[in-house]
Every structure is written in C-alpha cells, then in structure tokens.
Chain length 258, copies 2
C-alpha cells in the first residue's frame, strides 16, 4: 500500500528532514515505487510536484530534497498502485479549487465498489478510487455550502463523509485547504507535535539526525503525520482506526473516534 506524509505548522517550515526519510520508502527502503507526489501551500498558492517515477529515483524528488520550500501545510504520498495504471494523472496528491481556495488530497488504501454519482462541480481526471473519493467529498461539501463554513462545521461533514466512504474499504487520507489539515486513519497513521524545548531527531530510514533547537524559535509548533513513524528516538502517537483529526497551527483542533 501507499504511504502518506503530512505537515501542519504555525509558521512556514521546510519539510526537508522528514522528506529525506520518507522519499527513501519509494523504492529504496520499501516497495512503494509506482510514483509519488508532494503538495506545498505557500500562502493561498500551491506548489504540486508529482512524478510517475519512483521517488528514490526521481529528478523532481531530487529538487524537492534540495530546495527548502517553507510551508504551513504539506501533503506527500508515495504510491503502490492498487487501482489505476501508473500514469501521471493517477499520482497523488490531487488538487482542486473550491470556494476560492485550493484543496489538496492524498489517500492510502483501496476502495471497492465505490461508484459515487458524477459530480456537477468536480469530476475525476484519472482512474483511481482515490481521486473519485476526493471529488465526491468536494462535491458534497460544495453542494451543502456556497462559501467556506466554519472549520468545526466542515470537520463534522468530513467525518460523516469519511464514515460513508470507509464502508467501501481502506481509507487513510489527508486533506488540506491551506488553513488546516484533516487526516483520517483507517489502518495506520502516526503523528508527533514538535514544540519548545526542541530536541534532536534521528531518521528510521537513513542515518541522519537534525537538532531542531538550532533551526526553530520558541514559538514554533510543527505537527508531522505519517503512515509509520519517521524517527526512532521520539514518541509518535498512533491514531485509532476510524479516528479523524483536524490540525491547525501545528496542533490538534478537533478529533473524533468512531
């Protein structure tokens, strides 16, 4: 299956350290070699890099590793194809615009017999169950609200939609509009909130450490969410199957276990 990586912060932060470990799982330390992608919010704008090459062997991943893009919300995905060919239009994250905001989405899992009706606002371009699920979520939100509602209202509606969709299979996903990051755990998802006092972290996938105390200020707060913990000397919290979590400014805002 695929792997997911997300970051949500209170100040624009680069994801170089986490991506260093994560991208190695795309063909090097793990077998997720059917493409990858990463989306960064910068203000209201989005930078999306997708590639149908393995992330451990991609010139685009090479750029991302060297170019410290600072962002408050990031979603990355390494793909092990289950549905949909290995083609660019099937690489996650997917992007759409809703209510004058960009929305980004990535999914880890496999949905069976999931055939939502054709949307009047959003349609999938590729053939993945994932993009169909994303378009279905947006379509339902858009039909309910003409403009962005409060985060709490959105959270409740996404919870309802997640429960509906996960009846079709495994539905770990990450969703962001640049203000907040919503993550849903079906099987595996772990997170950590880093804040002062910052310490040194050491990657699982490579012998690399970073001392965050030299890179941060006392006010910084960064939440990192990943399918599996990325570091081996920090305490990661496992989300429960069925748990939905909304993060804003590097901290949990709403959560629901069902």
């Amino acid at each position: 299956m695929c792997q997911l990586l997300g970051m949500n912060c209170n100040t624009p932060t680069d994801i170089l350290f986490s991506f260093e470990g994560f991208h190695r799982r795309g063909g090097l330390t793990d077998h997720h070699a059917d493409g990858w992608g990463i989306a960064f919010f910068e203000g209201a704008g989005v930078r999306l890099f997708i590639d149908d090459k393995p992330s451990s062997d991609s010139p685009v991943a090479d750029l991302v590793r060297r170019y410290p893009i600072k962002s408050k919300n990031v979603i990355a995905h390494i793909r092990k194809a289950t549905q949909g060919e290995v083609r660019l239009e099937n690489c996650h994250p997917f992007v759409r615009e809703m209510w004058g905001q960009y929305w980004i989405f990535a999914h880890n899992g496999d949905l069976k017999a999931f055939n939502p009706p054709k949307g009047s606002h959003y349609q999938a371009v590729g053939s993945t169950d994932s993009e169909h699920a994303f378009c279905h979520i947006l379509e339902q939100l858009r039909q309910r609200w003409d403009r962005a509602p409060e985060p709490g209202q959105l959270f409740d509606e996404v919870a309802r939609l997640s429960a509906e969709i996960r009846a079709h299979g495994t539905f770990n996903f990450m969703l962001s509009n640049g203000e907040w990051l919503i993550v849903h755990c079906a099987t595996q998802l772990h997170y950590i909130v880093r804040q002062a006092p910052f310490n040194t972290a050491h990657l699982v996938d490579d012998d690399v450490s970073v001392d965050f105390s030299t890179l941060t200020t006392a006010q910084d707060r960064v939440a990192v969410i990943a399918t599996l913990p990325l570091t081996d000397n920090e305490v990661w919290t496992a989300l429960a199957p069925g748990e939905l979590l909304m993060l804003r400014d590097g901290a949990p805002l709403f959560s629901l276990r069902s």
Copy 2:
C-alpha cells in the same frame, strides 16, 4: 508585460530548446522577473511548475531545463506583474478541472474594470485579472455544456468570450485541455510549425543551435507559439491583433480574425 510560450505537437516532444531561450527573458535578456511557470500535459495528467522567483534564477527552472519532459501541449509564462502582488497564487499558468479534463491558461496583458460575477463552479484564488478571466471563461463554458462539446463549438464560444473580455484591455492568452491549444493575439504572438524536412534552428537569446533533423521522425509536427520569435534563422508567422487560433496535432485547426 509578460511573455508567453506554447507548444502543440502530434507526438510528445520536449521543449528544452525553446525553453532555453525563453527562460532567459525572465530577468536576464529581458525584464520579466516577477515569477514564471510552465505546465506540461502528460496524457490526461498535468505537471505544473510555478515559481515566484525570476526564471533565470530559479532552481525549478533549472530542473525543467535539465529534465526532458515530453508533452503534446505545453504553456509557459514569464511574469511582469501589472495586477496582483508577486505571490505564488498569482503565477501563471493556472489549472482547473472541467468535464473530467485539466485545463491550463496563461495571459499576457492587462484588463481594466473587469469584474465578472462570482462563478458557481470556478473562483479565482489569487488577485490577478488573468485568473479571473480564466475562471470566467470556464464558468461560461461549463454553464453552457455539461460535457465537452466538439472542438469547433468550443472554438466559437471561446471566440465570443475573447471578444467580450478584450474590450477590457490587452488579452493575449493561451488555453489548453491537453487535446488542443487555443491562442489569442491581442498585441503580439508569433508561431512556427516545424515538420519534415527539419532544419537547424538558432536561438535569439543565446548562442545555441539545434539540428531538429537528428531529433525527429518524418511524421513529427510541432507548433511553437511565443510572444516574440525565439529563433533568428526561421520564418515565424505573426498573428493579427484579434486573431484566435486553435492548434491540434501541431497544426492550425480553426482560426478567426475579428
């Protein structure tokens, strides 16, 4: 003002040679230094690279120059900000999904007192007149058709919308859905169709030549469209002010002068 570059081919082709000259106009041989972007179709998927740094000094442009992405439809843009701050969300090309296809758009010019009504399907994220024009065009097409019409019908409707929008100012633009490329000339736009027998071309902006006969097959056909000619030893055709041109498979399909 900004500069535009487009490519439309009958076989996936890399744009390295044209981009080599074009990207130098972003801060080096010309003064378009307020960001840049390039969008490539690969099948139904889109690769979008945007940057708010000058293209002559951008690590992302560096990647594009070294990575021979093969595409049948490309739109690139170098920005000289007239409306909208220098921010990522204001960099062209812009992307939206319509009828299950990605659509890309870039604009060179300046629209005054252009305030289309808020769309029910498409809204601008940034503050440029350009993105508002793109969303307005999509909104009108989407309200008229529930699914993609024939290219000829689309061309006629885009012609009508272009005439309406250009009453507000300068409206050179490029638009593609991955099957065809539509270009509209308000002030300056030049194109060339390269096909067998292929010759050697020499860049205006740099002392670089390429012998296309060594890189192509006899069936290849490539149309390149740019604000100003990119080579100094080939004959480029100037579009007339008010001319709209749809290209498919590297050749003009429909054109209208008005």
